[in-house]
């Protein structure tokens, strides 16, 4: 009985944690934008030491434009240049990520402007001092006011808010994706970010590429690599000065780690269910021998062997299901405790409970078979004489 409770609890807990992790991964992939590839500048070789990737400012807006122009599966190729900058509005200030983009970036991330509007082509071309901000910025700088039309400074440069983005929630790194300010890339390059850290004005942090079809992703990686190597005039077996990443892979890998824990819990559940099954068999064998006379009476008034077998199978099933329901409650409680203590996302689905109780029922039937068979095989005369 206890075994069934523990087994079912483990199944429910495991499925809840697993489903929660799965839901989190898919949610993050969704907020990331589907079918996204990132091209990141490569590491600089400085006196033989390879520095952190991204230290070599090798990607340009032209690279992004050519990817979009030459590769048919590239729906958009959005350049991005970003840096942490101090923002000031009236008497409030806030340090956040300021990113120079063009309108393509919001397409690539499947990110909608909730309030206001996106950049116009002219604003991007002319380097206008306009900004689209995330919801966190509205909270921190404008106290939750609509924000549209208000001005603030990035460093010393004044900007006007023209749009507020839809909420996206936490990103893969656990940082709020809504804590961000987007400005036109040309503005970023010429006025805000361009000249800092000694990079050239054309340098980018990365290019986001939205691929039109998931099946075309591996092919796209090869094509982008070939195209950029050609553009950067990298010969033969020399290493590329950029990297291509599929951010969804990282998230999927994290999901897999949770799954490993799930396998462990399944092992616990299996052992517990078998132990529970054996204890049910024990209970039923005792019950059959205690109720031998009852079985004889039932047979005398006309119960067939099948009737007797069914009766004891149902009793075993009920025992197992009671254990199953207790286990489901315990498992759900454990999952909630995990969510609360470890901060993992969980998802308690009714399917997990049904599945676990189904397992319990299966165990009840399997281990109830032998006692039920013993009861059904009793000789009515012997059973009736039993005291």
């Amino acid at each position: 009985m206890l075994g069934i409770v523990i087994g079912v609890a483990a199944v429910v807990c495991m499925v809840s944690v697993g489903a929660g992790a799965q839901a989190e991964v898919s949610e993050k992939i969704r907020t990331l934008g589907a079918n996204l590839l990132l091209v990141i500048p490569g590491a600089r070789n400085s006196a033989g030491a390879r520095l952190e990737s991204g230290t070599q400012p090798t990607l340009t807006e032209e690279d992004a434009a050519s990817i979009r122009r030459e590769l048919v599966d590239a729906q958009v190729a959005a350049p991005l240049l970003s840096r942490s900058m101090p923002l000031v509005a009236a008497n409030r200030n806030w340090v956040t990520l300021v990113a120079g983009i063009n309108a393509d970036y919001l397409v690539a991330r499947e990110w909608q402007v909730a309030n206001g509007r996106s950049f116009t082509g002219e604003e991007i071309a002319s380097g206008a001092k306009v900004a689209i901000v995330g919801s966190v910025i509205i909270e921190e700088l404008f106290d939750g006011r609509a924000g549209i039309g208000e001005t603030f400074r990035i460093g010393n440069v004044p900007f006007t808010v023209i749009g507020v983005l839809d909420k996206k929630g936490l990103g893969a790194a656990g940082r709020s994706q809504d804590d961000v300010v987007f400005i036109p890339l040309s503005t970023a390059q010429s006025r805000v970010l361009g000249a800092v850290r000694g990079t050239t004005r054309q340098a980018l942090d990365f290019i986001s590429i939205k691929v039109s079809d998931a099946a075309a992703m591996p092919e796209m990686e090869r094509e982008i690599e070939a195209l950029l190597r050609q553009r950067h005039r990298i010969r033969g077996d020399a290493p590329s000065d950029f990297r291509i990443e599929n951010p969804a892979d990282v998230l999927i890998a994290r999901g897999a780690a949770v799954r490993t824990l799930g396998i462990l819990l399944i092992a616990v559940a299996t052992v517990s269910l078998v132990v529970g099954g054996i204890s049910i068999m024990n209970i039923m064998l005792v019950s059959v021998s205690e109720r031998t006379r009852e079985i004889g009476l039932r047979m005398a008034v006309g119960a067939s062997r099948r009737d007797i077998r069914r009766q004891f199978l149902i009793e075993a099933l009920i025992l197992a299901l009671i254990g199953g329901l207790m286990g489901a409650a315990l498992g759900a409680a454990a999952a909630v405790a995990i969510a609360w203590k470890a901060g993992w996302p969980i998802l308690i689905s009714p399917w997990a409970v049904i599945l676990a109780c189904g397992f319990a029922g299966f165990v009840g039937i399997s281990f109830g078979l032998y006692p039920a068979h013993r009861a059904a095989r009793l000789d009515p005369i012997v059973a009736l004489r039993f005291e």
Partner: protein, 243 residues
């Protein structure tokens, strides 16, 4: 119409230690519809085994048995179960009720196995309880009933499926004499109502209430008499009386 019960030379023996006990040896008898028969004998005379054979709880080792003219000696366990629930009502020595079922549920039991729908079997069982005068005890548990009441519930259960044959094994075995008398009156009522009753007992005064008395000794019939109210007939047989 064939006799309700007809046996030709049925025998049943059990191994016991190194020897074989001939519980029933070569018994031939014939019982017609509507008879009230007492099978009488000392303990160990084979009367209970004979009743179990007639009630299809046991298979004879040899001999012929026909119930309602149909061969019944060599049937499978499930076929015998089917005949038991349709044609035979059993009355056992107490305790013969399921302890975890109410009086009504106990009476319903044969109908449950016969597949009678719930509403109908409830009604039929109520009628049967009413017949034995326990309509107001329907929802009592067996341990809330007196011995006589329990035995009447057992009788209601035995007659609820309107069986061709009612078999009673020491129906008054654990009851005091006045309660025994009530139970026997109930049997006489059933007999008058057209039921066929075979009753096994070791008590002569109980056997006396039946119309026909069959006396067993060491598994053989030594006397088969239609009673005319004279005890002297039985007393005249030395083998049947206690030593």
């Amino acid at each position: 119409m064939p006799p309700l019960v007809r046996t030709i030379g049925i025998s049943k023996h059990y191994p016991s230690g190194g020897t074989i006990i001939h519980a029933v040896s070569n018994v031939s008898l014939s019982i017609e519809h509507g008879e009230f028969v007492a099978i009488h004998g000392r303990s160990g005379s084979g009367k209970s085994t004979l009743m179990n054979l007639l009630g299809l709880l046991e298979r004879p080792d040899s001999g012929e048995y026909a119930l309602k003219g149909r061969e019944a000696a060599r049937l499978s366990e499930d076929t015998r179960a089917a005949i038991r629930r349709k044609d035979i009502g059993f009355i056992f020595q107490l305790p013969a009720l399921l302890p975890r079922a109410t009086a009504l549920e106990n009476v319903e039991l044969p109908l449950v196995y016969a597949g009678v729908p719930r509403a109908e079997r409830r009604r039929t069982a109520k009628d049967a309880l009413d017949h034995v005068g326990l309509a107001d005890r329907s929802h009592h548990w067996p341990n809330q009933l007196s011995g006589g009441e329990q035995q009447r519930v057992v009788i209601a259960r035995a007659m609820v499926n309107d069986p061709a044959l009612i078999l009673a094994d020491e129906p008054t075995g654990s009851l005091d004499s006045s309660t025994s008398d009530e139970i026997m009156s109930l049997f006489e009522g059933l007999h008058r109502g057209g039921h066929t009753i075979i009753m096994v007992t070791h008590a002569a005064e109980v056997a006396d209430r039946a119309r026909r008395q069959i006396t067993l000794h060491d598994g053989r019939i030594i006397e088969d008499a239609v009673a005319s109210g004279k005890r002297s007939l039985l007393n005249a047989i030395p083998l049947a009386s206690p030593p």
